[in-house]
Amino acid sequence: MRGFGITNLLFDNHAPHRSPASTRLGVALSPQQPPHQRDLLVLIFVRGGLDGLNLLVPFNTNSTDRDLYYNKLRPTLSVPAPNSGATRKAIDLDGRFALHPDAARGAMGVNVPNGHASDTGGLYELFQRGDLAIVDACGSPDVTGSHFDTELYVDLGGKNNQGGWLARYLDAAGEPNDALAVAPQWGIPPSLLSFTGRSAVAVPDPENFGPQWKTREWTSHENASALEAAQRALLEQMYRRGGDFIEQVGRSALQNYDMLRNVLETGYTPSAAYLTDESHIADYGHFGHSLKTIAQLAKSSLANPLRVATIDVGGGYDTHDNQGVVDWNGNSRYCRLITNLANNIKAFCDDMNADPAWRGRFVVVVVSEFGRVLYENASGGTDHGAGNVMLVVGSHGNIRGGQVYGEWPGLKHFGFNDGLQITTDYRRVLADILTARMGVAASQVNNVIFPGLNYTSGLGIGVPRQPDAGTVKAQQD
């Protein structure tokens, strides 16, 4: 059962109304920030089935893949190889794989049409500096041809599990029921669905968090505040018992209101350029705004620090038709989808790394339910496939980046649904990060988070945390 079990540490039962602005602004820095025992995990779920094969291009994996398969299977959609004569072409990572050029916008030597301030090298730059690990041919053992089934199975961390794996992680890590988990969007994905009474907070619009008092005539701020306070006191009365699902969620929402509104109302100037401009992307800027909200909440001095965050990114990754080639102006559907992902992830890293307290203390994981069919269809698109890339993005040496992980299955033998064969269970990648950076043991992974996974040692992506003497011991740990 999902509820909003977040204890409100700023909330004063004797003064249930919104505190005056003067005191709200004066939130003290908390020594728990960032969390002492573990990194902040940001899970990005690309809904719709990302075409990983055109993001991470197997241009030189073996002599036959490229010439006999990739170009032949995708006669119009294939991304030009780094050694081709095309103006816009993939950029070499390791002599075997190359990145789509729009995942490298702003990198030296990459042709960037239709430029934007967020073009600072994207995923390529992260890879070069060792902050990006790419795992190819990942997937779910429960993969089906259905988005909805496969997404749910990934959210649950296994087809037969009860509740979301992120919620179970918080259980396993011994986080208190009030640990802050945020989805900066209007709905909360099933990965955070909890059976233990913990809850997540949806923040769809940080500038308008909480009730908005709307009138046609001028209503003074004072009057609106008084009306809202009176209503709020009555609502707190009626939600106070938390006796059922409705009351439980409502009670916590009202309790956390002050804390989150304090943060969100103070405004936020990021230290990097996010890409939210509709002329470059196709999701109305949701993804960039969502990442910015996460950075804002993480860096703000919340009494209850942010532990995990997740974003569903959309905007048309289910590219059954008119997927789009690497066009001259980077404006095709697929180019925009990749630009949105790459530029905003890079911006988030730059934004977080700008704060010394966060360096080396966050991990971003990008997953999608499945990859796409190895060959293109008659509509200039690709249908639902199987294996796909996963991205793990770290900071200042908390992961071993700059490499492509995973066992490359080749393009010669088709996998499920004629997609890429799955050689790495996506949960093993997550388990790597959870055990190295997120404060849980392999036994907890196998018993609680991903029951039945039998994880012993992983790919070695996460660098195990060292006890850091310089941080004040967190009060709640």
Binding site: M1, R2, F4, T144, G145, S146, D149, Q162, G163, W186, G187, I188, L193, F195, G197, A200, V201, A202, V203, P204, D205, N208, G210, P211, Q212, W213, K214, T215, R216, E217, T219, N223, L227, A230, Q231, L234, L235, Q237, M238, Y239, R241, G243, D244, F245, I246, E247, Q248, V249, G250, A253, Y257, G314, H320, D321, N377, A378, S379, G381, D383, N417
Partner: protein, 521 residues
């Protein structure tokens, strides 16, 4: 506590009449509450299942009288418009620099919300919403406008085979699931898959017994074959994007051949050499497939009875499926069997209101007679259509916009979180301000005749609270909560006289609408 046995609200259980108005419609209007003791549930179900015999002329007149002038001054065609009229409108709107898809969608919002608010054919409107989501398409294409009237409304209480047959040829569906581009040589399998997974059988068998939710209803090969069968069902090269079977797109070597599909059976279904008739045959098979009957009954039970019908009311799923099978997909008979099953009457606390139901049930409880017209670009108006559109968007249930072919979720976890708490609170306040006048001062408020009627003013604070609770909740609430409301409204005096000019009346209505008691369906 498990996901399958969610906590239900403590306290009193409302009457069956209340449950009927909440679940078979969008909540009671004041006039519905006048004679509740004489309510005959079975009679109400049967009357609602015969919408054509319900006089709805007042609502029809309201719809016909709506201003359809778009921001460019062009008239949006009426809901029953033909594809040619919609195409004419698109051309005119685009020539004027307008946004035809958006304007068509906005008018369809107005019409849909107005019907939910005013129509006496409440169950019909619920079924329209049900099928709109079951056969989800959206305003990526203006053709959704045509589909709403000519496919969904036409068959909402008709026969299931007719409904999916019309949907398969609906231009909006052909675009939404890409079938219009499908080609026999290299078919696009998007529609073929969702037809089987989402529209008819479901991925896994839903027939009780061995194989329940474990035996696949189709193989990947079946999906490819179905895609071959539907190649050539297209709008390409057709006037006004109407459906046609275009054998030229269905390559002879691939389309025009015998086919076999297994569809979860040991023996195959045989499709003789043919063109469009193979698709009709497949639709026949899918409509008669036992898993389809159970899947449709499951979804109807989820809509009307419980978020978790497999656990809460498997016997209601069974009677619905049997009715579906024995009548060959008669939607009325299926719905009737489910609603008259005893589990319906015992299902209080199993469903919560989604934003659509919250919006309309709040407006109905307030006795409102007029819907917001969503067409004008009234950005200047703090309580205009654009404000309500943004608020509805934030609540996540903007009609005809959902991008996934599943349709919007119909379980509580998707519809109740921090965002919903604050959003519904905001929406309730905004509705009260828009319709009953501003809440400009704390110590005085403008008199409003409609608001006085709503509370039967003048009345005491106690009487007003009880009256409002009757409108919005309809069951006894916690005694302390009731006292707190009375205490606030009467400023400490339960006998204080309240009218529409009382400054605390509007805020207290907003609180009741946003209270936990008013969120259950």
């Amino acid at each position: 506590m498990s996901i399958d046995s969610p906590s239900t609200p403590p306290g009193e259980v409302p009457s069956l009449a209340r449950l009927a108005y909440n679940r078979l419609g969008f909540g009671p209007r004041p006039e519905d509450l006048a004679n509740l003791s004489a309510f005959d549930f079975a009679g109400y179900v049967d009357a609602q299942l015969a919408p054509e015999s319900i006089d709805d002329s007042a609502c029809e007149a309201y719809i016909a009288g709506l201003d359809r002038t778009d921001p460019q001054g062009i008239t949006v065609p009426p809901p029953e418009a033909s594809l040619a009229e919609i195409e004419d409108y698109r051309r005119a709107s685009e020539a004027a620099g307008g946004w035809p898809n958006g304007n068509l969608q906005r008018h369809l919002w107005t019409v849909t919300y107005a019907r939910a608010l005013l129509s006496k054919r409440q169950l019909f409107e619920v079924m329209v919403d049900f099928w709109t989501n079951h056969l989800q398409t959206n305003f990526q294409s203006r053709l959704k406008y045509w589909e709403d009237y000519h496919v969904i409304r036409r068959h909402a209480l008709g026969n299931f085979r007719d409904l999916i047959g019309a949907s398969a040829k609906s231009p909006s569906m052909l675009y939404f699931l890409s079938n219009t581009y499908s080609d026999g040589a290299n078919p696009n399998e998007n529609y073929a898959r969702e037809l089987m997974e989402l529209h008819t059988m479901g991925s896994y068998s839903r027939v009780p017994g061995p194989g329940f939710l474990t035996r696949p209803n189709y193989t990947e090969e079946d999906v490819h074959t179905a895609a071959q069968i539907f190649s050539g069902w297209t709008t390409m090269d057709s006037p006004d994007d109407a459906y046609r079977f275009n054998a030229g797109r269905a390559w002879p070597a691939h389309h025009w051949q015998e086919k076999r599909m297994w569809l979860g059976n040991d023996n195959y279904y045989y499709f003789p050499y043919g063109g469009e008739e193979q698709g009709e045959q497949l639709l026949d098979i899918l409509a008669e497939h036992p898993s389809t009957a159970y899947f449709i009954s499951f979804k109807l039970c989820r809509r009307f009875i419980s978020d978790f019908p497999d656990n809460f009311c498997p016997d209601a799923i069974e009677v619905g499926a049997q009715a579906f099978l024995s009548t060959h997909g008669d939607i009325r008979a299926t719905v009737r069997a489910i609603l008259l099953h005893p589990k319906f009457a015992a299902s209080w606390g199993q469903k919560i209101k989604r934003p659509f139901e919250f919006l309309i049930s709040t407006m109905r409880a307030l006795g409102l007679q007029e819907m917001i017209n969503f067409l004008p670009d009234d950005w200047h108006d703090a309580l205009g259509a654009r404000f309500f559109e943004s608020q509805i968007e934030m609540l996540g249930q903007k009609l005809f916009e959902f991008p996934a072919p599943t349709g919007l979720p119909d379980v509580r976890f998707a519809w109740w979180n921090t965002n919903q708490v604050f959003g519904r609170w905001t929406l309730a306040n905004a509705l009260i301000s828009r319709y009953f006048g501003d809440q400009t001062e704390v110590d005085s408020a403008p008199a409003n005749a409609a608001l006085d009627r709503l509370i039967a003013a003048p009345a005491t604070a106690t009487q007003v609270i009880d009256r409002l609770l009757d409108r919005f909740v309809g069951r006894g609430i916690d005694a302390q909560d009731r006292s707190a409301l009375i205490d606030y409204l009467g400023a400490g005096n339960p006998q204080a006289t309240v009218t529409s000019a009382s400054p605390r009346l509007r805020p207290v209505i907003g609180v009741i609408a946003a209270s936990p008691y008013a969120q259950w369906r």
